[in-house]
């Protein structure tokens, strides 16, 4: 199936729902790793919104991106409960170990901050791809992306 066909399939599948835009964007991102710019026109046409309105929504939410992330994504929690368990120092060491700074993608690895994974009694918390990791250490996280 071509990209255009897949896009129109996803758009068509959600267009009839109330408040269809977020479910649509989530599914596009699950399919392509981002919201491809090629999807903008079909979305606007299906929902009767302007390009500016669509861009406004995509830009508002942290989750939606215009380009795919690295093959591995490490999300480290920076919120208070994890800070209380030394998250800031852990993140600084992780940045040095990986050679990747928060918010960057280097090679196959994307490193980004997240504000709470709901693992506040076993911090510092992190997520590597779809795996949650409690009491995270830089060594453990670096190992996860090497595996």
């Amino acid at each position: 199936m071509s990209q255009a066909e897949r896009i129109s399939e996803i758009v068509a599948c959600h267009r009839g729902r109330e408040g269809a835009l977020l479910p649509m964007l989530h599914e596009l991102q699950a399919a392509f790793g981002c919201v491809p710019v090629e999807a903008h026109k079909p979305i606007c046409a299906a929902l009767g919104i302007t390009a500016a309105e669509l861009q406004g929504v995509i830009a508002f939410y942290e989750d939606f991106r215009a380009a795919p992330q690295g093959r591995h994504v490490i999300r480290v929690c920076r919120a208070e409960a994890c800070q209380a368990m030394g998250a800031e120092a852990m993140i600084a060491r992780l940045e040095r170990a990986l050679g990747v700074r928060l918010g960057e993608t280097v090679g196959a690895v994307t490193l980004e901050a997240v504000y709470c994974l709901g693992l506040c009694a076993c911090g510092p918390a992190a997520q590597v791809d779809d795996r949650l990791i409690a009491r995270a250490t830089p060594e453990r996280l670096a190992e996860e992306v090497r595996a």
Binding site: G19, L25, E80, V114, C116, L119, A121
Partner: protein, 509 residues
């Protein structure tokens, strides 16, 4: 033989999946016929993965378990070095009053049979037999207040929606649990999803709504999966759908996923987000109760509020209101988080003191160092110090000391915490998450970061400026994001002024 290995996200993050695999393979090697139940967490997170083995005497716990500990579970359970005895006799568990969390950890979360066997659906069945007025009176009489943080009486909200005339009304569950230090919504959805579904069904029945949404933050993939499966099961069993439990009015629930915006935990921005818009805050009035999702009268309640409703209907408003202190009735699932020895979820009546929870139940810090501060109620909540350990936890009791209960997360810090940096972080977080609709929050938070930096660089006039700025944000912001961000800032400043000044050695230089 039944063996329980939690499927809760925290347990899984601590290695429960590998433990479950080891249990299955060890049982296979021994030719034992066992059933592995992926239950919710009991809330004793320091013991996770906490495996339970069903025996005639009751469920025996073992934890925190690693795959290497599993063979001994079969070979010599009595002398297992990680044996904990009867799980429900562990003091942390036994001391609780579990109403909202009564079934969490006990049942298979996706088994409707388990749910009913442990009292599920009794509330909805009773509600279906009551008059419309009696249902609303029940919620009102229970004293139940919004557990998301605002503490607004649920019964009044429901009455407003019930009284509104509209072709369709809506029940929205706010599961955008973004506050650091809170995970009760997640645990409830993962451990007892039918309780939330039943609570929403009672809400729908009570206000005349047929449409329901659960808006879950995208950071909770495990909870999203469980809730989706539970809604499918509820629909399949005729609990939800064209007729509640086969003979009631129509009500159905759809799971929607957030997209990484903290502010969407605020009810009006959540509604905008549900409608497919930017999650910006709406000015009130009009109230969502009259003009909510797509302009329809809408109940917006937190997960814990709705999940408590079935208990109230099953046991009566009076029984619920018998717990608590002052105007804070019932129980609250407090969440002990951050640097704490026995972290987890502890449900108890309002009125317990901060010191009891942190020092008594929680056992002090995980690091073994003295407690320096406890932030209550998420990133917008105040920092309290051990001087406040006598404070009773209740909405009014915390407000009297310039703080909030919020969603009842307690984040503990030891004496290495830098309170000036934490105050700066509160402003930085507010700037990062501001929806931009109102100036005090949008601009004030960024100025707040700068002013705290100026203070810490030694600017003598910056403190007056910071206090002035906080006053503007408190009174001028459209919602609690900008309005409450001054709580952590001012409480830290008042308790630890020295940490807002330059480090001493720089002054000497």
């Amino acid at each position: 033989m039944k063996i329980y290995v939690p499927g809760d996200a925290a347990a899984r993050a601590l290695g429960a999946d590998a433990v479950a695999a080891a249990v299955a393979s060890q049982a296979g090697l021994r030719g034992l016929d066992i059933e592995i139940v992926r239950n919710g967490s009991r809330g004793m997170i320091w013991l996770e993965p906490l495996v339970e083995v069903e025996t005639e005497a009751g469920r025996i716990g073992f934890g925190p378990l690693e795959p290497a500990d599993v063979p001994a579970l079969f070979d010599a359970p009595e002398t297992h070095p990680k044996a904990l005895g009867l799980v429900e006799e562990i003091p942390f568990f036994k001391a609780q009053t579990r109403l909202t969390f009564a079934r969490v950890g006990r049942i298979d979360p996706l088994s409707l049979a388990d749910y009913e066997a442990e009292g599920g659906l009794a509330g909805l069945r009773r509600a279906l037999e009551m008059s419309a007025e009696a249902r609303l009176d029940e919620v009102l009489a229970s004293g139940l207040r919004g557990r998301g943080g605002a503490g607004f009486p649920a019964g009044i909200k429901w009455k407003t929606v019930a009284g509104a005339k509209a072709a369709q009304k809506v029940v929205v569950c706010n599961a955008d649990e973004g506050d650091s230090g809170t995970f009760a919504d997640r645990m409830l959805m993962e451990g007892d999803p039918f309780a939330l579904i039943e609570g929403m069904a009672i809400a729908g029945l009570s206000v005349g709504a047929t449409q329901g949404f659960v808006y879950i933050r995208s950071e909770y993939p495990n909870a999203i999966a469980v809730m989706r499966a539970a809604c499918d099961a509820a629909r399949g069993a005729g609990l939800l759908g064209p007729a509640l439990l086969g003979n009631g009015p129509a009500f159905d629930i759809e799971i929607r996923v957030g997209a990484g915006a903290y502010v969407c935990g605020e009810e009006t921005s959540l509604l905008n987000s549900l409608e497919g818009k930017r999650g910006t805050v709406r000015a009130k009035p009009p109230l969502p109760a009259l003009h909510g999702f797509m302009g329809r009268p809408t109940v917006v309640n937190n997960v814990l509020t709705l999940a408590t409703v079935p208990w109230i209907f099953a046991h009566g408003a009076e029984a619920y209101a018998a717990f608590g202190v002052g105007r804070s009735r019932g129980t609250m699932p407090f969440q002990l988080a951050g640097n704490i020895r026995h972290g987890g979820l502890f449900e108890t009546a309002f009125g317990t003191t901060l010191g009891d929870l942190v020092e008594g139940i929680g056992g002090g810090t995980a690091s073994g160092r003295p407690v320096k501060a406890v932030q209550i109620g998420g990133p917008l909540g105040a920092y309290f110090t051990p001087a406040d350990f006598d404070m009773k936890l209740g909405y009014e009791e915390c407000a009297e000391r310039d703080g909030i209960v919020g969603h009842a997360g307690l984040v503990v810090f030891d004496d290495t915490a830098d309170m000036g940096a934490l105050a700066r972080f509160a402003m930085e977080f507010c700037a990062h998450e501001s929806c931009g609709m109102c100036t005090p929050c949008r601009i004030g938070s960024t100025r707040g970061v700068e002013v705290i930096d100026a203070m810490r660089a030694g600017d003598p006039e910056a403190e007056t400026l910071l206090r002035d700025l906080c006053e503007v944000m408190t009174h001028g912001s459209l919602c609690a994001l900008g309005g409450f961000a001054p709580y952590p800032v001012l409480s830290a400043l008042n308790a630890f002024p020295a940490e807002f000044r330059p480090p001493r050695k720089e002054v000497a230089e």
